[in-house]
């Protein structure tokens, strides 16, 4: 049950509510991909400075999450998945979420710029700005391409990690950016297929709401077909070893196989008229795609780490 707080009423927000504002699950993926960018970058960064960089990236991601929850409280209140978030549930006042996000973001950017390097700080500022201003405030409520373009914000952390070490950018972190960028649409569209009614109720123009399920299924397949070779590109271009290549090909093939199943399954996921059993089946495939896409991205980045730390060993054994 939601509680409406007046401006004068003292806050009942607990520490857990502020942690929830930072979207810890999203943050964990951001930190992991940033860590991989940092770990595979050439050169040496003192472990304390590396940890500082990761803390700043985590806090910056949390700030972006808090600002997103501040701005989207009206949408969140209308969606089953998000209505218990701290702001729509009334546990945190909107002005508290705004102040929290601005404070965290400011600290993260300044500390990263001062203690690590200015390029990394600027990239973090750009990431938070893109996520809040371009995705949340501009695109999300206006176009079904919201998560395609907005996905750039989620794709930047490996570049920040890389820049923390090198003070610049190169082809490798750009490949990592592209992998996450092209991974985002099939990942979120699989979710939005079985949450379409929620998005429609909230007035968010997600692709299934605006263009319908068949078009969404087609787009999921197209992006997965682009993603699979892109996922293998670090190996194809010689930036990663065979272990990575095998994992990327297997994972990419599984992504495409799931996308094909979604494409070929014409049972409406949410529309009335379909038999309940068939609908459950259609739901299950989309949920499978959503869950597997997270595993796939984790696998790719984990294999880059494995490759980085076992590469010299494998080379030594081969020699």
């Amino acid at each position: 049950m939601s509680v409406t707080l007046s401006h004068a009423e003292p806050s009942i927000a607990g520490v857990g509510d502020y942690i929830a504002l930072m979207k810890p699950r999203v943050m964990s993926l951001v930190v992991f991909t940033a860590f991989v960018g940092l770990a595979i970058a050439p050169g040496h960064l003192h472990p304390v400075i590396a940890a500082t960089a990761l803390i700043c990236i985590a806090v910056g991601a949390g700030a972006a999450g808090a600002l997103n929850m501040w701005y989207d409280a009206d949408i969140d209140a209308r969606m089953a998945r998000t209505q218990n978030r701290p702001v729509p549930a009334g546990r945190v006042a909107p002005r508290e979420a705004l102040a929290f996000g601005i404070t965290l973001g400011g600290f993260a950017i300044v500390v990263l710029g001062l203690l690590v390097n200015v390029i990394a700080g600027a990239l973090l500022a750009g990431t938070i700005g893109f996520y809040v201003l371009i995705y949340t405030m501009w695109l999300k409520r206006r176009t079904p391409q919201n998560i395609v373009i907005g996905g750039a914000a989620g794709a930047l952390p490996p570049m920040i990690g890389w820049a923390s070490v090198t003070g610049g950018l190169a082809v490798e972190p750009i490949l990592l950016f592209l992998i996450i960028f092209f991974w985002t649409p099939p990942h979120f569209w699989a979710l939005s297929l079985y949450r379409a009614q929620d998005y429609a109720r909230a007035g968010v123009p997600m692709l299934p709401v605006v263009a319908g399920e068949p078009e969404t299924r087609r787009q999921i397949l197209l992006y997965s077909l682009l993603l699979a070779p892109l996922g293998a590109s670090p190996w194809l271009l010689g930036y990663a070893g065979a272990l990575y290549g095998i994992a990327a090909i297997a994972g990419g093939a599984a992504m495409v196989a799931l996308a094909v199943r979604i494409y070929r399954d014409r049972t409406p996921v949410v529309a009335p008229g379909a038999a309940a059993g068939e609908q459950r089946q259609a739901h299950a495939v989309c949920k499978q795609m959503f869950a597997f896409s997270i595993l796939y991205l984790f696998l790719l980045f984990a294999m880059l780490l494995v490759d980085k730390f076992t590469g010299p060993l494998v080379g030594h054994i081969a020699a």
Partner: protein, 56 residues
């Protein structure tokens, strides 16, 4: 004078839940600031005299 003493104190009176939440938030802020101080101290030790040197 005696009547004034019987009046409740002016201002906002926190409920038990609000008091607990405020105390928890205050502790969290103190811990965060403490960690920030420790971080700056350690980074200063690690970077040494070059702590203000920030290459692009």
């Amino acid at each position: 004078m005696a009547m004034d003493e019987d009046k409740p104190e002016p201002g906002i009176r926190l409920t038990e839940r609000q008091s607990r939440a405020r105390r928890a938030r205050s502790i969290a802020i103190a811990v965060s600031l403490g960690l920030l101080v420790i971080l700056f101290y350690i980074v200063t030790l690690v970077k040494g005299p070059g702590v203000l040197h920030r290459p692009l």
